[in-house]
Symmetry: C2
Subunit: 240 residues, 2 copies
């Protein structure tokens, strides 16, 4: 504006096709019956995609069957720049997602399983020149892994030349946090103001419990080479 440049060329917003797979899933608008669970991932992932400048496009809830999942994935790949599939909760359906992604186009699955908790059963793939990412079905894992792997893909597609670290705030950890060495852990924490600056209070709970994210302000990372973090350690709390 200062230079009178009132028109600039911008990147097209990347379209992200989102598929939720799992025989147990129903829409949040439907009352679940025994053994059913409401699909949360399609909504949390849409919010993440919008926040990062993309356009979420939904390709529905698909059952744990190769033909139907592959049909939806093909449609998503054709109509989107990136495809994200959240897996069903059982081990067998994870293999199903990998099988479907491999059938979508070459080179297919590049990485199956990452050394991150939560989120081990992650699939990173390229099919016919587009990124295809298989996320865990667990909503907490899906959101953490999407922050780590979907966000950078969107940043590149948006044309960002310099990828800055995700924003966060410095805080002091209030409790000892154990962690298995050799694996990167992400732990939800709540920020509490104190005269010495912000404190990071861990939010405990199994990683499949959504309240751990709902009650948290951000996540802290425990590096793979650490056995955990001691109370009093300065930590970077990454906003979600």
């Amino acid at each position: 504006m200062a230079l009178g440049l009132t028109q600039v060329i911008v990147a097209r917003q990347p379209r992200v096709g989102i598929i939720s797979s799992g025989d147990e899933l129903v829409s949040p608008h439907v009352q679940p019956t025994l053994g059913q669970v409401r699909d949360v991932n399609a909504f949390t992932l849409s919010a993440l995609v919008e926040q990062e400048g993309g356009v979420p496009v939904h390709f529905g809830i698909q059952p744990d069957r190769v033909d139907e999942l592959l049909g939806a994935a093909r449609q998503a790949l054709q109509k989107s720049d990136v495809v994200v599939i959240t897996a069903g909760s059982s081990a067998s359906t994870r293999d199903l997602t990998a099988e479907v992604i491999d059938a979508l186009g070459a080179p297919g699955v590049l990485v199956h399983g990452v050394n991150v908790r939560p989120g081990k059963p992650t699939i990173l793939a390229v099919c016919a020149g587009k990124a295809v990412i298989g996320l865990p079905g667990n909503p907490v894992s899906a959101l953490v892994i999407a922050s780590l792997f979907v966000t950078p893909v969107l940043q590149v597609l948006l044309g960002l030349r310099r990828i800055l670290p995700p924003p966060g705030v410095k805080a002091t950890l209030t409790l000892n946090l154990p962690s298995q060495a050799g694996r990167e852990d992400w732990f939800p924490v709540r920020l509490v103001a104190s005269p010495q600056g912000f404190l990071a209070e861990p939010v405990f709970g199994k990683s499949n419990l959504i309240f751990t994210l709902a009650r948290a302000d951000g996540l802290i990372r425990i590096p793979a080479d650490a056995n955990g973090l001691q109370a009093g350690t300065p930590v970077d709390v990454t906003y979600m």
Copy 2:
């Protein structure tokens, strides 16, 4: 969604009335003649307001005359939840803004001048129950001060109960930065990746030069009780 709550009550987006004042200002769509300058603030402030969840509403470029500025300010106050006026560049027009704000409604101007650089001639006011903020005309100062004072107002109007610190990233300062003790300074820096983590490289230039912001990734704060910061100091870089 997990609980089947598919409708929630949300806060209305706050409307922020934006007025640029100054006889020297012209629209960026117009070729400036001698002594004229393109109005940048209306656009940077609009972007900030949208980023923070508000809706910017423009009330034009107003000349340095009480009657016209007051007319526009009254209209803005009536049609907005917050009013932001960027001042002309001379000392006399700063008093003009304060005079106009005082005439808008009780209690009027609460603070005239803050101990922050850039941004000293800031006006904080409440008129008829609404926040009215007078910003410096200098585009860099206007944006820094709006981050410090307009953003929190929007967060409160949006119903945020817990105001978290603005997001940023930890980095190591590469050069000594002098600062006058007794005044809070905000300094633009560029982030450079290094094997030891991010480095914060100061972007030097007079505070009225927009390129200092254009080339920066964020700002670092030098507290009022410091004489400056030494090279090697760990700093928090606040994203803009």
